[in-house]
C-alpha cells in the first residue's frame, strides 16, 4: 500500500470484523528518537492464544471468501522495511492491540498519508463504533473523538454523506499545527 494511513484503515477493518465498539488509533511521531509508532487498540472479540502466533502468517485467515489473510502480514512488512516491526497482543473477550514501529527517516518508509480521510470514512460508515484518534509529534498533540463529534450533530443523522467532508476538514485543521515542523 502506498500510505501507512491505508494500512490503518485496513487494520481497523479487523477490529470492526471482531465486533469492536471502540477503536483507538494512536500515531506518535518522535523526531528525537527517529521513531514513528502506530497503534490500533480495540475492544473486540480478541484472538485465542493458540492462533495468535499464526495471524501474522499470510496463510492464516478466519475469512471464508479467500484463503489468505493479507492485512497484518503487509503491515508488518511495511514496518520491517522501514527498520521497525509489528507486534500484536490480544486478550480473548477483551480486545486486541496492534503496534507497528518505523524509523521516521528511513528511506523506504511509506508516507503516513491522509489520516483525515481514513478517520472520516471510518466514522461516517460505522455509526455504531466509537473512534478515537490521537496524534502526537514531540510535545504537540491532536485528539479526535467521534462520540464528541456526534454530540455536536444534534438531529443530523450520523451517516449523512456530507459529514465525511466535515470530519476530514476538522482533522486536517487540527493536525496542521501538530505536524508543522
Amino acid at each position: 500500500m502506498r500510505e501507512l494511513s491505508l494500512h490503518v484503515l485496513d487494520i481497523v477493518q479487523n477490529s470492526i470484523a471482531a465486533g469492536a465498539r471502540t477503536v483507538d488509533v494512536t500515531v506518535s511521531e518522535d523526531e528525537a528518537s527517529d521513531l514513528l509508532t502506530i497503534e490500533v487498540v480495540d475492544d473486540g472479540a480478541g484472538i485465542p492464544p493458540d492462533i495468535l502466533e499464526s495471524v501474522l502468517d499470510p496463510f492464516y485467515t478466519s475469512r471464508t471468501t479467500r484463503k489468505v489473510g493479507l492485512g497484518l502480514p503487509l503491515f508488518r512488512e511495511a514496518a520491517r522495511t522501514a527498520g521497525g516491526d509489528l507486534i500484536i497482543e490480544s486478550w480473548p473477550g477483551r480486545g486486541t492491540k496492534v503496534r507497528a514501529t518505523f524509523r521516521m527517516s528511513h528511506i523506504d518508509r511509506a508516507p503516513l498519508g491522509d489520516m483525515a480521510e481514513t478517520v472520516a470514512v471510518l466514522v461516517v460508515c460505522n455509526p455504531d463504533v466509537r473512534f478515537r484518534y490521537r496524534h502526537t509529534r514531540g510535545a504537540r498533540a491532536f485528539f479526535f473523538d467521534s462520540e464528541e463529534f456526534k454530540q455536536a450533530l444534534g438531529d443530523i443523522p450520523p451517516t449523512a454523506p456530507a459529514l465525511a467532508g466535515v470530519v476530514k476538514n476538522l482533522i486536517r485543521e487540527g493536525l496542521d499545527p501538530v505536524q508543522r515542523a
Binding site: 485496513d10 503487509l74 480521510e117 460508515c125 450533530l153 454523506p161 456530507a162 459529514l163 465525511a164
Partner: protein, 120 residues
C-alpha cells in the same frame, strides 16, 4: 469556527430531506473494504461518493462499507441497493467512475450498464 457553520448547513439540509422522505426507505451504497479493495483505491472511491452526494445535497443515501467479497480482480467494488430494485454491483470503480455512478444511477435512476459485474 468553520465546522459549526458547516454543521448548521448540513442540519438544515438533513431536516428538509427527512421531511421529504417520511416513510420512504433509503438507498444504500456499499463499498468493499477488504485489504485488496483498500489497496486498489476503495478509500478514495468511498470518499468521492460521499463528496458527490454532499455536493448534490443528497442526505438520504446511506454509504456503508463491507469486508472482502472475494473478487479481488474487480476491486474497488461498489453495490447500489435502491429500495424495491435488484442490487447492482459495479467493479473497478475508480473515484471518477464513482462520481458518475452517483450522477447517473442515484440521481437519474440510470444503471451504468458497462461497469456492472453482477445484478441480483
Amino acid at each position: 469556527m468553520k465546522t459549526v457553520e458547516e454543521l448548521e448547513r448540513i442540519r438544515k439540509q438533513a431536516q428538509a430531506m427527512t421531511r421529504l422522505r417520511e416513510g420512504k426507505e433509503t438507498t444504500r451504497i456499499v463499498v468493499g473494504m477488504g485489504t485488496c479493495g483498500i489497496a486498489a483505491g476503495a478509500r478514495e472511491t468511498l470518499s468521492a461518493i460521499m463528496d458527490e452526494l454532499a455536493k448534490r445535497n443528497i442526505q438520504d443515501v446511506v454509504v456503508t462499507q463491507t469486508g472482502c467479497v472475494g473478487l479481488c480482480e474487480q476491486e474497488p467494488i461498489v453495490d447500489v441497493i435502491k429500495p424495491g430494485a435488484a442490487k447492482v454491483t459495479y467493479g473497478k470503480v475508480t473515484k471518477e467512475k464513482a462520481r458518475q455512478i452517483v450522477a447517473s444511477h442515484i440521481v437519474n435512476g440510470q444503471v451504468v450498464g458497462e461497469w456492472v459485474i453482477a445484478s441480483a
